[in-house]
């Protein structure tokens, strides 16, 4: 009987100690998580992906009524502008017919010139279209969660684009969902150039509405409204994908207004450009 009482006392003391130190343990755990995350630990990545697979379907169910309401509201709003939109679309269609004819001629000319120059055609891109199911937009991260179905072609690092241009890059892939870090997310860095002047720079996300354009040459001649496209350096993005336009210029660089309205994305294309990784190529060359 006495032994039991002593054991009980010990146990309750132990429980109290655990309770007291639990918060400290959790803080330590936070730093361990962050350290492992920084080192791209495979176990953490796998656990996080599995947990995401469980949580995201519930979010998707919750999104349904909200998106129905939003679509209804959008429809009612669009009814007001439908006449003006119709007129604008007719004009645009007329312009596009002319542009299409010009493009066809250019395409033929391009093919002939490429043949003359012995130009090596890059591999054809492979893509899937994915539905946006969740969105994150805080001071800490800007991302999208998309439904990719039972698709095993999607891989980390692939490019996410929409009809207007680059949206972001695949950050995490699960068996049915993928997380995309948007171009304004803090760890997004894309090599870009100004379409007209071909001046190169780096587009860096800052978790702000618009990403920054930095590492520009000192004599770079920038103008507000200049179109920004991908430069193709780095091996992930091909040359010429539209990114946005210069929105403001300061001493340290410029701000880029994304070509897409990142807050209104419903579907994105995840593209595999099958571009060779320059780092690996160099490594292979060195080995040979």
């Amino acid at each position: 009987m006495r032994r039991r009482r002593v054991l009980f006392l010990h146990l309750s003391r132990l429980r109290r100690t655990i309770k007291k130190s639990a918060i400290a343990v959790l803080f330590v755990l936070v730093f361990v998580f962050m350290l492992l995350n920084k080192t791209n630990n495979a176990l953490i990545e796998k656990t996080s992906t599995t947990a995401e697979e469980i949580v995201t379907p519930i979010t998707e169910i919750l999104v349904m009524p909200a998106s129905m309401l939003l679509n209804g509201y959008d429809y009612l709003r669009s009814l007001r502008k439908i006449d003006l939109e119709n007129q604008a679309l007719r004009e645009e269609n007329h312009k596009l017919i002319i542009a299409n004819a010009k493009n066809r001629a250019l395409e033929i000319e391009n093919k002939i010139l490429a043949n003359l120059l012995n130009y090596v055609v890059p591999p054809k891109a492979d893509f899937i279209t994915a539905k946006v199911v969740a969105q994150e937009g805080t001071a800490f991260a800007h991302s999208l969660t998309v439904y990719i179905g039972d698709n095993n072609r999607v891989e980390k690092g692939q490019v996410a684009i929409s009809d207007k241009g680059v949206v972001g890059r695949v950050e995490d892939v699960g068996s049915r969902y993928a997380k995309i870090a948007l171009i304004n997310n803090i760890n997004s860095k894309i090599s870009v150039m100004i379409e007209n002047s071909r001046v190169r720079g780096m587009m860096v996300g800052q978790n702000d509405i618009w990403p920054d354009l930095v590492f520009l040459p000192l004599d770079a001649d920038l103008k507000i409204g200049d179109r920004v496209i991908t430069s193709g350096i780095g091996g992930v993005f091909p040359v010429g994908l539209p990114v946005g336009k210069i929105a403001s210029i300061s001493k340290s660089g410029a701000k880029i207004e994304p070509a897409n309205n990142l807050s209104r994305l419903e579907y994105v294309m995840i593209v595999d450009y099958k571009l060779p990784d320059p780092a690996n190529e160099l490594y292979e060359d060195e080995r040979q």
Binding site: F33, I44, V63, L70, G137
Partner: protein, 172 residues
Amino acid sequence: MREGWHEALTNWLLRWLPLFVSILWLMISFIPLKSELSANARPMLGLMCVYFWSAYRSDLFSLMSIFILGVISDVLSVAPLGIYLFMYLIMYLSVIKISKYVNEKTFEMLWIGLAVLLPVPMLSGWLLTSIYYADFLPLKSLLFSYLISVALYPIFGGINAVIINKCLQDEN
């Protein structure tokens, strides 16, 4: 025997109800709302949940609940893993510290309390994330998130209060 089992399950569900409700709020905060504001500055619903339940029913919202909520938030986000858990723990500690001095838990008092306490975990999270990326995060969206969170608290708190009144009244 059957009634006992049923009762045990109901008690278990009620015990974890604050966590289930918080997870639901958290998922709502990830719904795409197709607006410029919501895509850049969302209310910190997870932090608001930790604040609300730690202040009203800390007996039903333990460290385990905070851990689960934090991990789910981190999993759903592309922010560094652990950052939301860190902010929730800071919020929990702040509420515990303040609850010793504040006995009157009226709705207005708690609203003011949120306005005062919310910057603590948010700025701590901001600082830790800035250190992680070795780059300062914008304070503008943090400020907007804060303002939206404080402005939405009456709706959020009202719904949670209804849940307390309807489901957790007997537990009081």
